[in-house]
Subunit: 376 residues, 2 copies
């Protein structure tokens, strides 16, 4: 918990549950990454947290924006981003949305299929397009991104060749090593595949100029992960090794690593109970899977937690959300220990909760309002 968040919570005592974001932390994350990767253009993956205050801050700092929908494009523009700093990074887009983005000045689009290329050629003539490659990193990322998106290597070659013939600008290639990637070595394999694609296509007269390495930089959850600098060094080494003195434009799309550690979810204990004598202790909070913590599905993301009773003896607890849905259990298999004297009304904080929380929240399941965000 940062000093600014601590002060806000003690001064304002906001109703729970809520998400508090420290904008200084976001600024530090952006500037830290810009220092570690001076050659890279940073496209903030705004789906991670599109709070207007965050978008405005990053636009002022010179960030570019990776967007997933025409709605996000409009929000980025409203926050001060210029259209030439926006990438429409979703490989699944309605043709009408591509046209709307193009009309707003956006000229950079992702694709991974023949069908998407046809739509782009129809309504975004001359736009820079990049093809997303499918790579398999599922074993070393907590939230893998290697299945629904991306095409095979041979298909990428074919589509990038066709792109030029269709009046588009075949700009480059993208891949994602997986959100919350733990293995810094994954970068070498991915960059080597990208470089191979550059070489193969150059032989056919298609000159790619850009590598988009996605996000995947980790945040500070319970699970150990290599620090961001280790990832950046591994990436730069891989770029040097595989592209040598012909370095392409380098794009990164950090989402989680830009905002996760800057945010804290404050929640309140609603009930502590046992279902039977000698049974496990259940701790029910006023935030759950449908209130912003959907990434606890299958206990994938294991948040660090603090409570207002920390310091005394602790013991195992099953941690659950407030809704009448059996699925709304946060941690049962993962061994979380909470203070023995925790009781209704006590505060429980989820740390590094600034990414993929507020907008994932349900619009009103069980009548509960969406998670409120405060930026300090």
């Amino acid at each position: 918990m940062t000093a600014r968040i601590r002060r806000f919570l003690s001064d304002v005592r906001p109703a729970t549950p809520c998400l508090v974001m420290d904008l200084d932390s976001v600024r530090n994350a952006f500037e830290g990454l810009a220092q570690s990767l001076p050659r890279a253009a940073i496209f903030y993956a705004m789906k991670a947290n599109p709070a207007p205050e965050i978008l405005r801050l990053l636009a002022r700092l010179g960030s570019s924006f990776d967007t997933a929908s025409i709605y996000e494009i409009r929000d980025a523009l409203a926050a001060g981003a210029r259209p030439e700093r926006i990438s429409f990074g979703n490989t699944v887009k309605k043709q009408s949305d591509i046209k709307a983005a193009y009309d707003l000045g956006v000229r950079l689009f992702a694709f991974d299929s023949a069908g998407e290329l046809e739509k782009l050629a129809a309504v975004a003539p001359g736009a820079r397009v990049y093809c997303r490659l499918h790579l398999d990193f599922s074993s070393t990322a907590d939230w893998p991104l290697s299945h629904k998106f991306g095409c095979s290597f041979p298909m990428a070659k074919e589509l990038l060749t066709q792109a030029g013939e269709m009046g588009l600008d075949p700009y480059g290639v993208s891949f994602h090593v997986g959100s919350q990637q733990r293995d810094a070595g994954a970068w070498d394999m991915a960059v080597s595949r990208a470089a191979m694609l550059f070489t193969d296509l150059a032989e056919q007269g298609v000159n790619l100029r850009m590598v988009n390495v996605g996000g995947g930089f980790p945040a500070h959850y319970r699970t150990e992960a290599a620090p961001q600098n280790t990832h950046c060094e591994a990436l730069m080494q891989a770029m040097q090794k595989h592209f040598g003195n012909r370095q392409p434009d380098l794009l990164v799309e950090p989402g989680r690593s830009m905002v996760a550690d800057a945010g804290l979810i404050q929640s309140e204990v609603v009930l502590v109970s046992h279902k039977q004598k000698g049974g496990p202790r259940w701790v029910y909070l006023d935030v759950g899977k449908f209130g912003g913590l959907i990434e606890t599905l299958d206990e994938a993301i294991k948040y660090r937690m603090t409570t207002s009773r920390d310091g005394g003896p602790v013991s195992r607890a099953i941690i659950a959300g407030p809704t009448c849905d059996e699925v709304d259990v946060l941690y049962e298999e993962t061994p979380y220990e909470l203070p023995n004297d925790l009781k209704p009304g006590d505060m429980v904080e989820f740390l590094s909760a600034g990414a993929y929380t507020a907008t994932y929240c349900s619009v009103g399941f069980n009548g509960l309002p969406p998670l409120k965000t405060y930026c300090v």
Copy 2:
């Protein structure tokens, strides 16, 4: 698809995705259940679909309401429900919310733990309380509800005895056989346990008067389920067998079975693609897990689907949603077949989608607005 929904879609051509609810179907479901269970008080589990038009219709028809939060209680009252027809059915409630409900006139509350009973005794003196029993039906329900809620039989006995000593009215017992329960025989086991609790407590001078059998009546998804009448007959037989001529008040809390079949989600194909030559066909829609179809998690609920190209040859497809999230795949293991000539812009309908869709929807993930509901 009902004739009224068909007419609305062809007359209005609403932007997709959207949910269209046929209020006549809701009325038929309510009246059908009231006929099948003439002795039961119907408490609509409004979390299934709290659209104001549905709440107003059911209030007019004489329905009572099972609510999960103080917000739902206020919505039910705003729709015309009287407080004596409202149950605060969540076993996990903030004390301040119990007090607010009590101040609004609500006098019927669920609990399953000592901690909850203490809160009720503190701020809802004299209220009727019922204890939720834990029963295990997980093997025969598509969306089981037997783990997070309910206490053991011995604990229920103890807590219901204490309730009276604490100034509350120990009214009865509740259980849930599971949402979308497929085994009509589950009712006998559950009712027999409830009757045993009545007998045991009567020996201690505690006279329970109510059995709340929850919901669990099925909707028409792809998976076969016994029809509602079979369930109602099994329930009435079990009540007769185990309670004889001393029938208690009977409460049912249908949610899914009241609204699921009355609703249809209209969506549009955004992309049809292959990731590699000879690979499976992917069909991407403009609705997905975060846009209302969260019950497709683990492919639990298998919706029936129709398309605007039905009639010609079909083949297997993986069906996915529109967001940049790997988890947003609807059906991959389940063998869905879709028309071979399906293409972007074609319409795809999810049938029996009126329950647990609109309010489960994310508030804005990927910038996408929540699912809009039309009641016709």
